[in-house]
């Protein structure tokens, strides 16, 4: 894992702001590339929207309609206000997961800081949405369901608080570990060639590499969908007002 951690430390341009280290590493480059890819994709799609969609618009339509109906369908009130956030979150995570399949680039979500940032952002949005919808008193009341005796309420309050804190933690670890484990397996398979010090062994790890790469594409899509689905589930349960 020490060799894998060096992937994000190939520094292209040192840049410090006092004590903050803002140097441009390869992970920063891949973050910018993923953002540019998402922007170019939607820019090209939305230039000439046709009633009968062509190929690129068809791909974008399938994914956006799936997000609007299935994923954001859990949010009952004011759904169209939350939809841009859900779509942007999905495509950002998807582009960052897929960029890592290009040799030489590392997926930005394989660094735990990136996924922790996204999860903390979702956590703050959920809490602030709940406070705005229910008011401060209603937010504090939502931790204790009503109609239970006081003894169980005292026991349930830490359990509710811990379960609220465990949600962004599980989002972080799930996304980070899936993408990181995929890259660790690819790294181990390729390093088998160097460990054997023989040219005849090459086809076998390469065959395994191809299979793992195909599985990684599948995992990238699934993890982006899971992240977005769980975020919209937390938003819907915070907005409904217990």
């Amino acid at each position: 894992m020490n060799e894998l951690e060096n992937l994000g430390k190939i520094v292209y341009w040192h840049l410090t702001l006092g004590k903050l280290d803002l140097s441009i590493t390869s992970l920063v480059i891949s973050l910018w590339l993923a953002t540019a890819a998402v922007f170019m994709f939607f820019f090209l799609v939305s230039r000439r929207l046709k009633q009968v969609p062509g190929k690129l618009q068809g791909v974008a339509e399938v994914m956006v309609l799936f997000l609007r109906d299935e994923v954001a369908g859990q949010i009952k009130d004011n759904r169209s206000a939350w939809l841009p956030f859900i779509i942007a979150l999905f495509f950002f995570v998807l582009a960052n997961n897929l960029i890592g399949l290009i040799p030489g680039l590392a997926p930005a979500t394989s660094n735990v800081n990136v996924t922790a940032t996204l999860a903390v952002m979702v956590f703050l949005i959920v809490q602030i949405a709940s406070i705005k919808k229910n008011g401060l008193k209603g937010y504090c009341k939502s931790f204790l369901p009503e109609g239970i005796p006081i003894i169980i309420a005292v026991l349930m309050l830490p359990v509710e608080i811990i379960s609220q804190l465990a949600k962004p933690f599980s989002l972080t670890i799930r996304l980070f570990a899936n993408i990181f484990a995929g890259h660790a397996v690819i790294f181990t398979l390729i390093s088998l060639i160097f460990l054997f010090k023989n040219y005849f062994i090459i086809p076998l790890p390469l065959l395994g590499n191809v299979c793992i790469l195909a599985f990684e594409i599948f995992v990238a899509f699934i993890q982006a969908f899971i992240f977005t689905y769980l975020s919209s589930m937390y938003i819907a349960s915070a907005l409904e007002g217990h």
Binding site: M1, N2, E70, S170, I173, R174, A177, N178, A181, I222, Q223, F225, I226, Y229
Partner: protein
Amino acid sequence: MNALATAFISAGIGMGLAAMGTAIGIAWLASKAMEGMARQPEAINGIRTSMILAIAFIEAIALYALVVCLILATKT
């Protein structure tokens, strides 16, 4: 046994146990999902979406164990 050897052994055993639990859980889930899809073929889309969602939940638990075992296996 010194602490480093214990860390390496426990990393391997821990991840193996976590993978075993995960495989049993996902196998049970997938078999019930296939039964449901065979009973009612018009619900295949809904069942497939819920099945993938549940698989991601179960796999996340195995990945918590993976993170702990990675920390143990790369100790110096």
